[in-house]
């Protein structure tokens, strides 16, 4: 239903790798936020994999932006590693790719 933490996440160096669920719309917004907040408290470095996201709306984008904004303020790091086509489309409509930091897999 929401973000899943990968096993490779490392408590020691504070790296958290998250896979987003297919649904990043308003229907799951509350759930998604709760998950993100939970991990946000534990880690300082986030790598988000959005390649499974099938649906995303303004609320989902807003959540990502809020995460990024809070992280910048709190000195934490948020990277996007992969995005699905729906996410790419929305990001291009809103012209917000530059709001994020990216780790592109080679």
């Amino acid at each position: 239903m929401s973000f899943t933490k990968r096993e490779e996440s490392n408590q020691k160096n504070g790296i958290c790798v998250l896979d987003a669920s297919p649904d990043m719309t308003i229907y799951c917004a509350a759930n998604n936020l709760a998950e993100i907040k939970r991990y946000y408290a534990e880690f300082n470095h986030f790598e988000l994999n959005l390649s499974d996201v099938e649906e995303i709306d303004s609320s989902g984008i807003q959540l990502l932006l809020a995460l990024k904004q809070s992280a910048t303020k709190d000195g934490k790091q948020v990277f996007l590693t992969a995005i699905s086509n729906p996410v790419a489309e929305v990001m291009d409509v809103l012209n917000i790719r530059s709001h994020f930091d990216w780790i592109q897999p080679e």
């Binding site: 308003i26 229907y27 917004a29 509350a30 998604n32 936020l33 993100i36 907040k37 946000y40 709306d57 303004s58 609320s59 984008i61 807003q62 959540l63 932006l65 809020a66 995460l67 904004q69 809070s70 303020k73 929305v90 409509v93 809103l94 012209n95 917000i96 709001h99």
Partner: protein, 740 residues
């Protein structure tokens, strides 16, 4: 892709139906308004109706419809705000607008590719010109506009204010939009509007503003915090662009600046937006809406005149109003906080679903299929019942009886699905009456009685044209001009009455006018001239009246554009015949004419009364059966009439009509045999049908007769009995006509 086209086609279908209903409703409201021009509720309804049409048309990019409707709606808005008042001219104009919208919608639904035809466009332009007269004359919003002007004056007259009247270099539209917090909760996603916007033009630049976005701890994930600055390259008008955000009007702060707007407009935009001025200015530069130089000028002016500006920002509401006037649109709801909390987002959607479930649109074809199936079910249940009776097993019989009862209920429920009130059809004639009376200088009052009478939808659809023709005839030929009416001692205003009611299994529609009536001399002369009757033929008055239904009969001395449309009364008669109905006419010279149409309630399944003649079964529609009496042979041989409790009633032997040899031959053998007479009544006329045996009630599924048998007298259809045999359905009206 396929899904998408299907989805669109389905949407268009819904739009087609919805707009037809809405337009009908709009017309109804307009006509009602004519009687009570001060009824605010009606004006509100009218505005809402037109507004909805515009909104839905916008969703499908029916631009012609939207553009026209918008102007009409603006005029209605003024009407609503009591800035203009409804007089005869405006009424005509609004009705014309309504017609234009109908035609535009029809055109849009027919072919979205081709541009609208010349005549339609010219008509539209003419109506638009007239509509604009109302918009130009307006003193509307005057108070607000004055505030706006004075505010601007303060700016320009201020000593330090720079000249901001020069235009910016930007060739693109600039759109600033800030959504209210509750926009997501209201089930709308800003994204979809941007995608739509991209079809109106090309979004050359988009800036997403996150200034309002709270931290993770404070964010409410179901509220909206984003703002957008958009540059749009589009040949579209401001109205069209604003239409994109139509559904968001109450949920956002929207500002649209045209290409090469004045610097002062940008200055205004910058104060009006909630963000800090310099930040917004930089965003504008980033999206190339303004150049650095232009921004400097604007900001300098602001800095120099800071006090004034704070006033302006304090008066944000005023600015909002200005924006709205600039946008020429309805007033925005100032309750930005909104009544709904985000928690209710899902609740709201649930509610919407619940409301949707209250009424379901069903394809008429599906309904037809269902009715056919129920027909088969009825036949098969009759068969089952018959077989069960043969087994004489009590338990089986009981079950089957239960089954039969349920089938009957299903039948009634299914048929009722297709029943609609005739009122809607009647209301359409109000417009005709109104237009014709204006055109011909007659004063006519249309009275509608029994609009809630229900009948089968297929019948309603087919009766509409004949009714229209009858009414036009009444208006054109029947009703006299006011001066002639007064000269004849009648009131100036003529009355045309449309009345519907149920009468023994039929629906009766009466069209009565108090006009000149049919002139028997003219009718006879005309009929002789056209060779319909011979000169020495003697006709009774009713026969003369019926001449108007003869093919090729027309008495119109002058052809007006109301009559003479190539549809004669004979076609009306034929159409009504095809519905198994009857039309009769009653007229008194100088007093008026009345047409009475009788139609069966349904065309599919009826309750029948099964009788036997010889070896054949016949079915008489039960609604027409009054009673059954026995008659002994002696009486039966006396002639063609019997004395029914003091009334003279004609009767007829079905065996003679259908030449049933079995029945005819068997008669003399049985001495003292008693006849059964089924007394039927139609249109107030009673008659007896003599049969050999009464078999009782039977649910009858009417099967139409093949072409070969269509002209058979005395038979209106056939049905299949439980035993699988075919029984003929007696055409009672036809038989009675023959007897009387």
């Amino acid at each position: 892709m396929n899904d998408e086209t299907d989805y669109l086609a389905e949407g268009r279908q819904v739009f087609a139906e919805e707009s037809r209903e809405l337009l009908q409703q709009a017309e109804y409201i307009l006509l009602k308004l004519e009687d009570e021009p001060d009824n605010d509720e009606l004006i509100n309804d009218l505005f809402r109706t037109i507004h909805t049409i515009k909104g839905s048309a916008g969703l499908f990019s029916f631009d012609d419809v939207v553009a026209f409707t918008h102007v009409a709606e603006s005029v209605m808005d003024q009407l609503r705000d009591k800035e203009i008042f409804l007089d005869d001219d405006l009424m005509c104009l609004l009705l014309d607008s309504h017609d234009q919208i109908s035609q535009l919608v029809a055109h849009a639904l027919d072919n979205t590719e081709e541009p609208i035809g010349d005549s339609l466009r010219e008509k539209g332009e003419e109506v638009l010109k007239n509509l604009h007269q109302y918009l130009d004359v307006k003193t509307p919003h005057s108070s607000v506009v004055m505030i706006a002007e004075s505010e601007l004056k303060v700016l320009t007259e201020s000593e330090v204010a720079l000249e901001l009247t020069e235009s910016v270099i930007n060739d693109y539209w600039h759109i600033s939009i800030r959504f209210n917090r509750n926009v997501l909760a209201n089930g709308m996603d800003p994204l979809s509007f941007f995608r739509y916007l991209d079809t109106v033009g090309n979004i050359t630049h988009m800036t997403t503003l996150t200034t309002d976005l709270p931290s993770l701890d404070d964010i409410n994930p179901e509220e909206s915090y984003l703002g957008f600055e958009i540059s749009l390259d589009s040949p579209a008008s401001k109205e069209t662009i604003a239409e994109v955000f139509e559904f968001l009007m109450e949920d956002c702060l929207l500002q649209i600046l045209a290409p090469r707007s004045k610097l002062s407009d940008y200055a205004q935009l910058i104060y009006a937006l909630p963000e800090e001025n310099r930040a917004i200015g930089e965003t504008l530069v980033a999206s190339s809406a303004l150049t650095e130089d232009e921004l400097l000028k604007v900001l300098e002016c602001q800095n120099a005149d800071i006090n004034k500006h704070t006033i302006v920002t304090d008066e944000n509401i005023t600015l909002d109003k200005i924006t709205n006037i600039l946008m020429d649109d309805a007033i925005i709801d100032k309750n930005i906080t909104g009544a709904s909390t985000p928690d209710t987002a899902l609740d709201k959607q649930k509610q919407v679903k619940e409301v949707e479930q209250q009424s379901v649109r069903v394809n008429a074809e599906k309904l037809g299929d269902l009715i056919n199936l129920v027909g088969e079910l009825v036949i098969s249940s009759a068969h089952t019942e018959l077989k069960a009776k043969q087994t004489e097993q009590a338990e089986l019989l009981e079950t089957v009886e239960n089954l039969t009862r349920l089938v009957e209920e299903i039948r009634d429920a299914t048929l009722s699905l297709r029943m609609v009130q005739i009122g809607d059809t009647f209301n359409r004639f109000k417009r005709v009456v109104r237009d014709v009376s204006k055109e011909m200088g007659k004063k006519i009052d249309l009275k509608i009685v029994g609009g809630d009478t229900e009948l089968d939808k297929t019948v309603v659809e087919k009766i509409s044209d004949p009714l229209m023709h009858l009414i036009r005839n009444s208006l054109d030929h029947g009703i006299e001009k006011p001066d002639i009416r007064t000269a004849n001692g009648k009131s100036e205003t003529a009355i045309v009455k449309l009345e519907a009611y149920h009468d023994s299994g039929s629906i009766v529609i009466e069209i009565t006018d108090d006009g000149a009536g049919l002139n028997p001399e003219i009718l006879t002369a005309k009929a002789i001239e056209n060779g319909i009757i011979s000169a020495n033929q003697q006709l009774t008055l009713p026969e003369i009246h019926r001449l108007i239904f003869a093919p090729g009969f027309s008495t119109a001395k002058e052809i007006t554009n109301i009559s003479g449309r190539g549809v004669g009364m004979d076609v009306v008669n034929k159409n009504i015949d095809a519905l198994r109905g009857q039309i009769s006419v009653n007229s008194e010279l100088g007093v008026g004419t009345s047409f009475t149409i009788r139609l069966p309630l349904t065309l599919a399944i009826i309750d029948g009364f099964q009788v036997q003649v010889g070896k054949s079964s016949y079915v008489i529609p039960l609604d027409l059966v009054e009673e059954c009496i026995a008659l002994d042979e002696q009486q039966a041989k006396k002639g063609e009439y019997i004395n029914l409790r003091g009334e003279v009633m004609p009767y007829i032997h079905l065996s003679e009509i259908f030449n049933d040899e079995d029945s005819l031959n068997s008669t003399p053998d049985k001495k003292g045999r008693r006849y059964n007479i089924v007394v039927v009544v139609y249109a107030g006329q009673k008659a007896g049908l003599v049969v050999d045996e009464l078999l009782g009630e039977h649910q009858t599924v009417i099967k139409p007769l093949g072409k070969v048998f269509q002209n058979l007298k005395g038979i209106s259809g056939a049905t299949i009995l439980g035993s699988g045999e075919v029984a003929m359905i007696i055409d009672v009206p036809g038989l009675i006509r023959r007897l009387v």
